[in-house]
Symmetry: C3
Subunit: 480 residues, 3 copies
């Protein structure tokens, strides 16, 4: 990616690249002058963007005459001169090099310093970069801002996500000034309070899928367990029992047993917390008491759970579809055909079996179809286009339908195996039976909630009603 940014920078200074280099800048009198320290990728992109929005820009550099190519229309002078000329200074410099700024303290006195810096990893330094900067130049008003934007994002115009600018600082006036500039750039400003919030702002760009951790761990754990379970019951059991080595089945057959199991369990885990929350509210008779943290955390990662479940289902589908081209399967079929012929029995199609297998496939396909639909509607741009009612319809109603189809698919797979003891090797049930527990529970609970009486009181609770509250009018005033 770094190379990516570089390429943009070089692109930026190429005359033919329309979207980047301004073709000359307006010379209006009322233009405000802003100063930028540092002529790196970010400094250049920021300057260019500001120029396009109609600001005048002066860069502060140690080598005003021999620095990297800058956007057209910007001036370059020494840091001191630049600082003098403007009231707002963007500090686009690595923290490691802040120290030299101390020498500029007099020129920077009373100025607004915007700290846009980020670190390579968390907790690299005892204090936030912005706080460090403030300590270096006590006379200036340091504002932390723009650090969540990338040079790339600035160049190509603010996209939906990078349109948010978080800023914090101790001087409200200073923040106001920075906010104005940000708004002119077409960005949305969110004030995060005093400079003590700088650390959090600096940690934003460093986060790596925080909300995916829990679901991922869960998925890996389940996969590992069921893989072990299946290998024991199939490979090891067969080897011990008949001394036959069917280890090769690990690659596809076993994988194709584990993936659907994990997928179904995780899908049902998306809907379990909602059901639990409902019962908790029914039990408490109010919605105004907070849920236990574990439930909160669980509910906040439902989307991730669902998407992981979908990806496992996707793998399951592919693994299923390649079955007939597997060497092993072809061998088996040829063998059975020859055996049938040798036995010389007249072949009879088992209608029930045909019905069962076909419905098994059919239900599975429909379930997967809905699965994919859920996945698509959880794409940001799609869910944004949905009204709240539409979104909840798809995610809850269709979601439960998907869960039902997939569970039913599994039951059809089990069919009559549930009873015949021959399947309980070493007194353990087949894996797919284990995986049916959670979804079954979820659906039973959901059915209970759908009972008119239960449903009614739940709705009342969610609209703000409270069971044992003397003056519940006041509560009722709350908008759900």
């Amino acid at each position: 990616m770094s190379a990516d940014r570089l390429s943009n920078m070089s692109k930026e200074v190429k005359p033919e690249s329309v979207s980047l280099c301004p073709l000359g800048t307006t010379a209006a009198p009322e233009q405000e002058l802003l100063c930028i320290f540092g002529t790196g990728d970010f400094g250049r992109s920021l300057g260019q963007r500001l120029l396009q929005t109609g600001y005048k820009i002066v860069y502060g550099s140690r080598r005003p005459h021999s620095c990297a190519p800058l956007p057209q229309g910007a001036q370059v002078t020494s840091h001191a001169a630049a600082a003098q000329s403007a009231t707002l200074v963007f500090v686009c410099i690595h923290r490691e090099h802040y120290d030299f700024l101390e020498t500029l303290a007099p020129q920077l006195k009373g100025k607004v310093l915007v700290d846009v810096s980020n670190n390579l990893k968390k907790d690299l330094y005892p204090e936030a970069n912005a706080e460090y900067l403030q300590r270096l130049i006590p006379g200036a008003h340091v504002v932390k801002a723009f650090n969540t934007l990338s040079a790339w994002g600035l160049q190509n115009g603010p996209s939906d996500a990078s349109r948010q600018v978080y800023l914090c600082g101790n001087s409200a006036e200073a923040k106001q000034g920075v906010a104005t500039v940000a708004t002119k750039l077409g960005l949305t400003v969110l004030d995060r309070g005093s400079l003590s919030a700088a650390r959090e702002l600096e940690d934003f760009p460093l986060q790596l899928f925080p909300e995916w951790r829990l679901p991922l761990r869960l998925a890996i754990g389940l996969t590992a367990f069921f893989f072990f379970y299946v290998v024991m019951r199939d490979v090891v059991y067969t080897y011990v029992g008949q001394g036959k080595d069917i280890s090769f089945r690990i690659m596809v057959s076993m994988a194709n047993k584990v993936f659907p199991i994990v997928s179904l369990i995780m899908l049902s885990l998306c809907y379990l917390p909602g059901v639990i929350a409902a019962f908790l509210q029914l039990y408490r008779g109010t919605k105004y008491r907070r849920f236990p943290d574990w439930l909160d955390r669980w509910m906040l990662c439902r989307k991730q759970l669902g998407l992981l479940a979908l990806s496992f289902a996707f793998l399951h589908v592919l693994y299923t579809l390649i079955i007939p081209i597997r060497h092993y399967v072809r061998f088996k079929i040829a063998a059975s055909t020859i055996a049938k012929f040798k036995a010389n029995q007249t072949l009879e199609l088992d209608n029930t079996l045909a019905w069962r297998t076909d419905s098994y496939f059919s239900v599975g396909i429909l379930g997967f179809g809905l699965y994919v639909l859920l996945g698509i509607t959880s794409l940001p741009s799609v869910s944004n286009a949905l009204s709240w009612r539409e979104f909840s319809f798809i995610q809850s109603k269709l979601g439960y339908l998907t869960l039902f189809f997939c569970t039913f698919h599994t039951y059809l797979y089990g069919w009559n195996k549930f009873l015949s003891p021959s399947y309980y090797k070493w007194y353990t049930p087949p894996a797919y039976m284990l995986c049916l527990v959670v979804p079954t529970v979820v659906m039973v609970l959901k059915l209970l909630i759908l009972l008119p009486c239960v449903d009614r009181s739940l709705t009342r609770i969610r609209r703000g009603w409270e069971r044992t509250d003397p003056e519940d009018d006041s509560k009722n005033l709350l908008l759900t």
Copy 2:
């Protein structure tokens, strides 16, 4: 989903949740004070968001001292006191509890009341909530706004869709004031006129896929008809004729006949209205006369038609790919192999058949590939990134190519069956023949339009030219 919102609220008040709780609020003098009635999810989220944007917030509550957790930095007082202190009051209360506001009429006189309420279903009340509020407090300037936003959307920053704020009211000044606040929140304001528009605004969040209804009904209708048709011709016919029960084929074989048929018909129905519109314009010799409503409605749901067609095609693909693992198919193949062997004939590969089936599959796959491409480009975020010319290129040029591939795929499937009478059971043609009618018509018409002469005059018409207009210069001035 309600649980979802709850979880957010609880998340909101947790100190560790970076993205939500402000870490202290600016104490700038020029901060404006806004008042919020009601401390429910929405009221809290709104307040928090306003605090982050730099406003001062005072909540009005019946129980100022014992109400749900509120965002840091907000004050809470009685409704009366709160109303007094601010000129702009957000009423985040259920309509059922508006009545008590009447008592506050004196304090609310001349204030701007923002009604953000929604109802659980349409036409629950004779008049819109906002109009009801205005009637209760005639002295106040009621503005309907923000009701299309969700508490969730407010917390997580405005996303592309929820960035639109529709407002309406009778006082332009009041609306101006609310618009300013909305803009500061990074939202786009759309004035919908007088308060009489409130009803429509309140119906927005309640709509459930209005533009999908027609296509869905169509899809269901077609599916039902063809399913019946196919079952009659196959299952019933075989049963009556040979007394053989092949009902099990319903699950997969029949489904896999119906889905592609419906898919192809609906795909062609996406392109039929465009063609009709073109001919209508040619016939009228102008583009300035409105189309009949049915055509309008049809053209406005083309995207939905296409997406449904795609989903049916998707199911068709899955149903086709599981064919070889079906018990029935394996049985058939084994039987035929054994029969071949018994017959002891030397096997000869039919080259023509090989060519035909392979091209049949190949064309189908390419068609489906394009299908998927169309689907992807119709994702909001993708189509937004396309220039108008690019979008029309994909949706029309590639769209017709897809239609051609899929139709050709079906013709290859039919091959020589068209002529042999044995396929016309009970004098009815096979279903796939029926489904070929519409696409064939569409493509023939499209070819006509592409004829240079026709194309030329059509282009002229679409650029504003009119056939029999004395002073068509003036018309020509219209920009197409």
Copy 3:
């Protein structure tokens, strides 16, 4: 699509269409009056949008009394009167009809003329429309703007992409005025400088996938070459050698050889430039020297390369999955089964073969799964939601993992064929061997870069450090 716009226009003027027609407009005193020339699709949509935002609108038309339906609340008069009344005039007229504006020169003197026009194709006229307009009415201040928006986009509210408004003009004040209007419409303004930029702005909407050209050409070239190569080695060779016609295999078998090959090569070409760039930086010892243009261009189309590679992989998967339902394959299997039986040998499952084929499939599936994941995360709305670190993690780390899986998949396919000479027909290697070259090279180079020593110095360089620089402190100040 033109029909599409038409439908919208007619929709617009239908009373029942909520989202479009304003239900009465505010009568606030401070409303500003804007003038629009031309009552075509664009003029009407623009006017309506402006009305909704709270402006007063007057249309200038040659036939004020008999022109197409206009948005409610707008007045219509003659061009002259309209021009007089407002200071800002939107010229929504085809360039061909500008000439008549010359007659309005006196009324338009000193006014701001906004040229929103586009042409049907590039370089249709010697000078840009806006420059032509300026030449016609030297007294007016022409500003080029809004031409990248569509009537459709204006009606349905600005979406993420169409939110950018590029404007250019010679008068800064005039541009400021237009910018204010644009901002009120919720659009982001980008000043592109003087009127000489008009041509570029007018070319924006006409571009047709400029960044896709190179990758597409490459894909087509590779496909053509390998198709020819495979056909020669298989069909022609067999025909010449054994006089057997297996041409039918072109449709599926050959296609399914070519697609995966092209896919793998293009995937590796996504990662090659990054590696080259790294080595170039290592060699130069700095990141501040621009890359050669060819490398820049290459790096800027990596995303497109990757998406094309994905689509080829997608086709490969489908072509693979239909194998077992092909007539030819079924014939082959039946034949071999019969042969086996005749030979009357006892069938023995080749465990190694089973292992190999299964792992071959398994690795392929996992690779494809990652492939799809990469594709999904490159959707605008998804990648926007990722932090910079998350995006680079997926696109580089997971990207290389994908490359590894797919390459390994191909090696497993080759297995022991690499050595047996029988596969080198006409002394040429099988196609899949050729396609292994690039990915292997890329991965070896990447491994070199990952060596601690190399990695360390590369990181230093990318943070701004330079090898042989006397005063590198100053350089160090640049923020990467």
